[in-house]
Amino acid sequence: MASRRAHSSGDRDKSSGLRNGYSRGPRLNGKPASDLYKKHFYESFEQPPLYVPVLTYMGYGIVTLFGYLRDFLRAWGFEKCHAAQERKEQKDFVPLYQDFENFYKRNLYMRVRDNWNRPICSVPGPTFDLVERVTDDYNWTFRYTGRIIKDVINMGSYNYLGFAENHSEFLKPVAEVMMEYGSGVCSTRQEMGNLDKHIEVEKLVTQFLGVEAAMTFGMGFATNCMNIPALMGKGCLILSDELNHTSLILGARLSGSTIRVFKHNNMQSLEKLLRDAVVNGQPRTHRPWKKILILVEGIYSMEGSIVCLPEIVLLKKKYKAYLYLDEAHSIGAVGPTGRGVVEYFGVDPADIDVMMGTFTKSFGAIGGYIAGKKELVDYLRGYSHSAAYATSMPPAIAEHIVRTLKCIMGLDGTTIGAERIRKLKENTRYFRQHLQQMGFIIYGNEDSPVVPLLLYMPGKVGAFARRMLKKNIGVVVVGFPATPIVESRARFCLSAAHTQEMLDRVLTVLNEMGNFLRVKYSRKPRNSCPELKYDENYFEFDI
């Protein structure tokens, strides 16, 4: 299984007091730097009671033992092996997979496989319809029953602003462009695939982000891994957060630069690496690094944490490094007018050298952008791997992005965009506060619409997801290797399209489920009873 954190050096440092339910009074060089933050910045990573990780490890141990036993039975033909086999003609080739590679898949993943890749057959809006599937052989194969599970509440899609929708009125311009241009492009940006629609999107993105220029690409993943190599090369240093997304890691690796990893959102660790890099230069030769690039994300999708941007900007200026900020999850989702973490912290966009983001999340489309200074974007137009070798964004998608951007910016003459941003913020606070009140351990920033709820034990992961589906709620659960081995979790993504009733239903069910599965591990003080109060004036907003 591909690990998301392929280059993280190991488990996170739990001993540093930083992680345990701290209210981050931001610090720099040991001095509090609270004046950097215009508002309260609270992130929590509470640790469970000690018996939880112990039991979790035991759980994995038992599953592994049984895995060996069953592999033994399979090898001797006592148990039928369902996995696809190598062709007879090629049995004498070097095996395509090493045995241990698939041990995890055969013996752990297969037991809970039904909780992923669930097929849906409607808009991935606040509720969706799932195609029912059953298995007759313990998840090795699935059979579709032909029935449809209607109106499942969707707590999994990254539909932050609710733009995954199919109102015919909203879709009209998209449909028109599609009928005019067709669905694809059939060429690259540098050859014949530079359409007027792309230029329109780029203008709007530029305006939205308050930068000099922007360029769009056909896929968010590829935006990272095909542009970082155009910027960095041999003799350059990349400092990357340990929880960065695979696409950033891959891009960094493809660039051929040296990569060093700092602890998640830990400014001391970053500063140490920066100082070390500036003082010592390259290994052996001690020549100074050609360039130093800090790679961070806006919101980390597995932790729900928000990057400490003001401190990073300070550090970056102090050590003359460059900053690459991936706003995949944060653009549209945070900030008073949805302009991402840059606006959330009130940082000047000109201080971020490369602003990257994707259109797959808040905008409900596909593709990515890179924005920044005009020279940067002009340079990328010439040298980005994506511009020269990969197909450009389909015009209909571009039209959809234009529409959503206009809506968010209020250029369509309505306040729908602003309302959605406000609603998302409300939903986020509401949901997070109630989960915390109920005694769940949830990670991350109080303003992050990504809400990880810690389940820890592998057995509970499968049980949780299945039972939630029985109650018509679709949740995402993630375990090792996407998370540290003891920190399996469920992840909720809030959306502006979630209504009060939906959230209340989810919360009620979660409350029962938490009691049933005994996953309310939090030891934080909470108010006596978690009543589900929803009041428009309940929260303060500084918009």
Partner: protein, 485 residues
């Protein structure tokens, strides 16, 4: 810093160091000891050879320098970067040719408006003309109405739609393989598939002319790469033999080193076809697995458009993995890999572009399904396409100064200068003049774009000519005349 343990006696104002409460006797004793040492030094100085003295002198001076030179302070050193930090961008980006993008306004179908001129399009990879097909558009529209635009999630997390499953199924059936997997971007397909199988330490044999996506995938896999000359089977066999010899020396390592052979059906960079039957023979002889990239040949070659395997009549099961993008003949977006389940299924957890990126928008998947329907219903288009290719190929032969590179049945071939104008830059300029000339006269051509610094084996400058099967002969002959110039 040295700490001086003695206090200077201020009272007497003398220079004598006065250790605490010690008596004068002690001081006298110390003076004696000092005197003795000074005498000893003089004695040594007069006895020692000259070079010794010089050396010692230098040594003492050096020690003094070390003692007095400044210790190294962090804050002061950090300004060091100011002078050496390079700009994030490489120099010379300003007047790069590719900055001057062509700007197309009408849909890039067979007619296109480029920089304000209406042209016949020879520049897009829309071979079957499906981009402008009403049926495809209508199906995509219906899908748009049902599912909206984006999927808002990777395949694992509610990003799997019923149309994705249908498309995978249809592709597998069309190609007559066990399983297919789709990606949301053509480039990411082979670039993610390669590192899913080939790991550090594995051995990879690649054609020199392999496209950029393969090169990037190989780089990500960190395997050992061996390049063989373009389409040169003898060279490949030589490499394989060499490897066999190596293996005999180290059989234990050989038993765990996977070997792969990466080839393209029709090469994007040269327009020529790979000798698949020979490759398959070599596969079984030397036990390497063949991965075949068919982005140009899928939907083009073969009686039913199944690509090079059908063209040569090779059993598709002999190829371990076939990958192609749906951005050329299928005129949609995305890519797929197909083959046996044993091979393909592995990507569902290990293909990075598959697991960690949002899935293909359902309307594009529906468009691809409809395009497949059309290809299945009317295999005649492949014959027509091949005819048109040959016609244009013939017509373009014998233009003075330009040579045609590529197979005559390939819908994407290249025009190259017969004689170089000295440097790459001049060649590029001349070709650009030709492109501009044609564009002003209603023919859209484009140069193949390469990133000079990134390519392992940089192809020489060239113009790509793409053929559509839906052109009318009248416009064709007109075009020929113009290109002939």
């Amino acid at each position: 810093m040295l700490k001086i343990p003695w206090n200077y006696s201020k009272k007497e104002g003398s220079f004598f160091p006065c250790p605490g409460q010690q008596s004068p006797n002690k001081i006298v004793h110390w003076l004696f000891v000092g005197h003795y040492w000074v005498q000893l030094c003089f004695y040594c100085v007069f006895q020692a050879p000259a070079y010794h003295l010089i050396l010692e002198g230098i040594l003492i001076l050096w020690i003094i320098r070390l003692l007095f030179s400044k210790t190294y302070k962090l804050q002061e050193r950090s300004d060091l970067t100011e002078k050496v930090t390079e700009s994030l961008l490489r120099n010379g980006s300003q007047n790069h040719l590719s900055l001057q993008y062509q700007r197309s306004t009408l849909p890039p179908t067979h007619k296109i408006v480029v920089n304000g001129n209406e042209c016949i399009n020879f520049a897009s990879f829309n071979f079957l003309g499906l981009l402008d097909n009403e049926k495809v558009k209508n199906v995509a529209l219906a899908s748009l109405k049902k599912y909206g635009v984006g999927t808002c999630g990777p395949r694992g997390f509610y990003g799997t739609f019923d149309v994705h499953l249908e498309l995978e199924d249809r592709i597998a059936k069309f190609m007559r393989t066990e399983e297919a997997i789709i990606y949301s971007y053509g480039f990411a397909t082979i670039a993610s598939a390669i590192p899913a199988y080939s790991k550090r330490g594995d051995l990879v044999f690649v054609d020199e002319a392999a496209c950029f996506a393969i090169q990037k995938g190989l780089q990500a896999s960190r395997s050992n790469i061996k390049y063989f000359k373009h389409n040169d089977m003898d060279d490949l066999e030589r490499l394989l033999k060499e490897q066999e010899f190596e293996d005999q020396k180290n059989p234990r390592k050989a038993r765990v080193t996977r070997r792969f052979l990466f080839v393209e059906g029709l090469y994007m960079n040269t327009g020529s076809i790979c000798p698949l039957p020979e490759l398959v023979k070599l596969k079984y002889k030397y036990k390497v697995r063949i991965f075949l990239e068919e982005s140009l040949s899928f939907g083009v070659l073969g009686e039913h458009g199944r690509g090079v395997t059908e063209h040569f009549g090779v059993n598709i099961d002999d190829i371990d993995l076939i990958s192609a993008n749906m951005e050329n003949a299928l005129a949609s977006i995305g890519g797929f890999c197909c083959g046996r389940s044993f091979v393909i299924d592995h990507q569902r957890l290990s293909g990075q572009g598959y697991c960690f990126s949002a899935s293909l928008p359902p309307m594009l998947a529906s468009a691809a399904i409809e395009a497949l329907n059309i290809m299945e219903d009317d295999p005649d288009i492949f014959r027509k396409l091949s005819q048109k290719c040959q016609q244009i190929h013939l017509a373009l032969h014998g233009i003075s100064g330009l040579k045609v590179v590529g197979e005559s049945f390939s819908p994407a071939f290249h025009l190259q200068l017969t004689r170089s104008r000295g440097s790459r830059e001049n060649d590029v300029k001349l070709l650009q003049e030709i492109v501009d000339y044609c564009q002003n006269r209603g023919i859209a051509l484009t140069q193949a774009r390469y990133l000079d610094k990134e390519e392992k084996f940089l192809p020489s400058p060239r113009i790509i000519v793409n053929i559509f099967c839906i052109w009318y002969s009248a416009s064709l002959s007109a075009s020929q005349n113009f290109i002939v110039k």
